[in-house]
Symmetry: C2
Subunit: 389 residues, 2 copies
């Protein structure tokens, strides 16, 4: 395999079980998942240099191998997975195969790039604040963030444990579904029976994005009836985003602060800023944010009962251009986090379906459902894809 899209940290071949349900499929794993005998670098050279090769596979890697998939290597990640754009100051930016002028999205940048380019069938990633959903939207493929806690992830670098989930990419929903099987997500469970349209989240998207995802929305509505408008955040989505930022940063510092202080690693500019911010979160601020998170969870649980799913653009727009100015990226990130944080705060699954393009860059349509409804979301995606004209 030639890495035509700068997606891989390391290329190798590790055969899976000979007769599993994923036999014949190749996968790549984000370099935050342990692979026995290989270093887990987490996108940061200081961490990679100090690490010894892993002694065992991370749970999701082991599960895919046991199901018969073949591992083709480890893929780039934003440093410590603490970014959404896919630009790593040390390792560069993987190519967005759908529109090479644009970033691929992150932090699961190499996995999305390798999958979208057709180098592998399955990209294994992780999603804390959008690290699978956003790149799936940017690269025009399917991405799945699982319910928090639903998939064992021993052997995976933590970012913010109460938000961290396993996620994966595929070019078709059938493969997405087979991976869900292999990762142990129960196929039974509630179907999506009704769509809710969160107008405050939609209002964060660009007009062209709203237009581009409308046909995909219409296909879902043809199946389930018109989406009912709702307002997600009575407090404002900016408040939810701030709650997410503080909770995430506090947990990131708890997980990595000691290492940062001891090893003083070199970070790229955005990541360095976020770690400084994380170090400064005070106990009282975190306490208030955790209380705010409870309010969000209750609101989301109240809305998403009885088979309801939110439907919304995954991202405010297509991927930013590779040379976008930092200020533009910041504005984009703020809006993106307001659209992505509801599922993260509530620990809910979200799928991103390829839906259209804006100025050549893909945009995805997202569906969020109650915890445990992962397979229901994938089933709906399969159904919608089969109805595509």
């Amino acid at each position: 395999m030639k890495d035509t899209v700068d997606a891989f940290v390391e290329i190798f071949e590790l055969e899976g079980a000979s007769d599993g349900p994923l036999a014949g499929l190749d996968f790549a794993a984000k370099d935050i998942f342990d692979v026995a005998g290989h270093v887990t670098g987490c996108g940061n050279p200081t961490m990679a240099a100090a690490a010894t090769p892993a002694s065992a596979h991370a749970d999701p890697v082991a599960a895919l191998l046991a199901a018969g998939a073949r591992l083709r290597g480890k893929t780039h990640t934003d440093e410590i997975a603490y970014s959404l754009m896919g630009a790593n100051a040390h390792h560069g930016t993987p190519v967005n195969p759908a529109d090479p002028r644009r970033v691929p999205g992150g932090s699961s940048s190499g996995s999305v790039s390798a999958t979208a380019a057709g180098l592998v069938d399955i990209g294994l990633g992780s999603d804390t604040g959008g690290s699978v959903r956003m790149p799936a939207s940017f690269c025009g493929i399917y991405g799945m963030r699982s319910s928090h806690g639903a998939i064992p992830m021993q052997g995976t670098m933590p970012l913010a444990p109460s938000f961290d989930t396993v996620g994966w990419f595929a070019r078709d929903p059938e493969t997405l579904d087979r991976v869900a099987d292999a990762l142990g997500l129960h196929p039974a469970g509630q179907s999506v029976t009704r769509l809710l349209l969160p107008v405050d989240a939609w209002a964060r998207a660009a007009p062209e994005t709203v237009e581009a995802v409308s046909p995909a929305l219409a296909r879902l509505e043809a199946r389930l009836g018109p989406a009912t408008p709702v307002i997600l955040a009575p407090e404002g989505l900016d408040t939810w985003r701030e709650t997410f930022r503080v909770c995430q940063a506090a947990e990131v510092w708890q997980a990595h602060g000691a290492w940062v202080e001891r090893a003083n690693p070199a970070f790229g500019p955005g990541v360095a800023d976020r770690f400084r911010m994380a170090a400064a979160i005070e106990a009282e601020e975190w306490r208030r944010a955790r209380a705010g998170r409870e309010t969000v969870r209750e609101r989301m649980q109240t809305l998403l009962t009885g088979g309801c799913a939110l439907v919304l653009p995954t991202s405010p727009g297509p991927a930013p251009l590779r040379e976008a100015a930092e200020a533009d990226l910041d504005r984009f990130r703020m809006r993106a986090l307001e659209m992505l944080c509801p599922a993260g705060l509530a620990g809910m699954p979200q799928i991103s379906l390829p839906a259209g393009t804006v100025d050549g860059g893909p945009v995805g349509l997202g569906l969020v459902a109650a915890r445990g409804m992962d397979r229901g979301l994938i089933a709906l995606a399969r159904d919608a894809a089969n109805r595509r004209d």
Copy 2:
């Protein structure tokens, strides 16, 4: 007739033509429409005291009389029609018959109150920035704002002429339709064939309002298919509101500034503030706002082609309580204007349908269509009302 709701400035009876299509229906006219032999007070005692009785009926009054309706009197208005709440510092606040704890809305406050209370069948009003749509929503009845320029209005006090339109209230859409006929709006013309859901305007409404109007939306969607999400204002609805504020104020000052400077009338607090603000609009500010208005018009015309109509809550919430604090009213007004200004800026017709209640107060669902589609909006309202379960 006993004025049980403090709606009337003056009560009298003026018979209409004996055999017209509105025979048997009573109407009341907002005290900005001339009625021959009566003073037009416009809600302000200084103006009323200086006025001589009108020598002829205003066009809409003459039209309703000619169609056989009987005029029962003249109704209260906010001063110079320059307000949305229905509280007149000199004449008091008409009762909101649907929920007497709340204001009735304005500026067509007496006409809505008299119609909602059943004292008359038709309330004649005017709508510059929402003065029919808002009170219709607040009092739980139908309200129609016509296309700008579609209905002759000679003999009517101007507020901001490039925005001023004739509007009317009724308790059922059939009456609304018969009045449209009497006012000369052509019954032919395009039907509404497709709904657009402006997510940025919906996001200005309260969550409970969105929930309360959803069944009415669903009835429309059952007829026309799912509403397609759109973003109205790429610049932000706050920018559109500001464009509206400046254009309106400049025109108000052009129409009334000389009188204000000469007569130095006593105004209630909110109205006084707005006249001071209007006096201070500078030529360059107005020029920029007019240019901004052209952008809005183009955007609205682009969106509303081919039988499309916007569907959105008429107001961010139910009518404020009569004793609401000024700061709360201001916040409400800002959000309301962001939802009401698109039709005003574009000169487009908007209907408000009674849709539900929030904490005992009615909320309406609005439909905005291209200029000239007034009858199409009313036809859709009739159709939806007939399908109501």
